[in-house]
Symmetry: C2
Subunit: 207 residues, 2 copies
């Protein structure tokens, strides 16, 4: 390479790979998992399907790389810095849950991938789940386990229920127009009811 990767070059491996990854995302949103066929992906990317085999080793390799490219849990970490952990992680848990409820509702990518994790058992999906576990482990082991002591596991179970409930409700709202327990999960009023419930339950848990 004489001149480093000119933007004007018509043939650019990296750019082509990105086109394939973008095509996967687009098809995932429009047609869902079942629409992910090599021919469609190549057509959507505007490139030849042979390149999928050359660059990713096949459809599975491409899909794995797409999943790996989505690093969702990095934004969950500790955005609030080192603020008040003297409350046993109460406020942190609350804001974490509420922000997840909002974030996942707006992010169609994570919805699809969470759903994917309930259907398939890909290596790349497992890694994502493990990342989430490791990320949560820091909260539990560092803050809430010492606070709840013998009840530490019950706190984990409560958070598990709330997190997974948030997942399910957000995905349900995205793919379904029907209500859930009589609540319209797409309306702001329905969603604020859920938010109030989350706050309420966390408060009660720390009583």
């Amino acid at each position: 390479m004489e001149k480093k990767t000119e933007a004007k070059s018509l043939r650019n491996k990296e750019k082509s790979k990105q086109k394939f990854l973008a095509a996967v995302e687009k098809i995932l949103h429009t047609k869902g998992f079942s629409g992910l066929k090599v021919n469609d992906i190549a057509r959507t990317a505007g490139l030849d399907k042979k390149l999928i085999y050359n660059y990713f080793g096949g459809k599975d390799g491409l899909i794995d790389e797409y999943i790996r490219s989505q690093d969702f849990w990095s934004n969950v970490k500790d955005e609030s810095g080192e603020t008040l952990i003297n409350d046993g992680g109460k406020e942190f848990s609350k804001t974490m849950l509420l922000s997840q409820f909002d974030y996942i509702f707006k992010n169609k990518n994570i919805q699809k991938i969470l759903l994917w994790g309930l259907i398939e058992n890909r290596k790349s999906l497992r890694k994502l789940a493990n990342d989430r576990e490791e990320n949560g482990a820091r909260l539990f082991e560092g803050i809430t386990d010492p606070h709840f002591k013998e009840n530490a596991k019950r706190y984990r179970a409560i958070i598990a229920l709330l997190i997974s409930g948030i997942y399910y409700l957000d995905i349900y709202a995205a793919t379904n127009d029907c209500t859930f327990c009589g609540l319209d999960l797409k309306s702001t009023s329905g969603r604020s009811e859920i938010e109030n419930a989350i706050s309420f339950l966390v408060d009660k848990t720390y009583e």
Copy 2:
């Protein structure tokens, strides 16, 4: 028809239809949604695929009939009869949630169909969701709404979180070996932690 549907007859329309429905179920368990191809279904049923078009109008008709054949919410109704509703539905809610947690864990059919409802938007799936809503409406309108009065909607939101959490955790446990919030959802100890959390949260809600 002289003699009504002999069991020994080699050609029996109803029995053949049942074979197709059983084949759908089997493939759903072994290969998942993506494995539901007419050729496979027919091969699994041991019959010709033409019959799928003759009897059900096509693959979609067959699948819809399979979904309709699964009436899950009938067992949720009021199994406890008319016992203690003077507690505002507290015990009823608790046992309902706990039995759902156990029932869905053991019933692979409902897991798959719940998952299906998060992916597709079939008419038959919508109907199933509506059945669930109507079923729940009886509990809410008849018992808990009058009890919680101005907080009725928050109670609904709490139940929505718990129900959907139960759904997600059970499905997650079935397709994933990984833990969730550090809890092993397949072990009895992990599951009893969740059960304790459900009881705890319902109790706190009624305080």
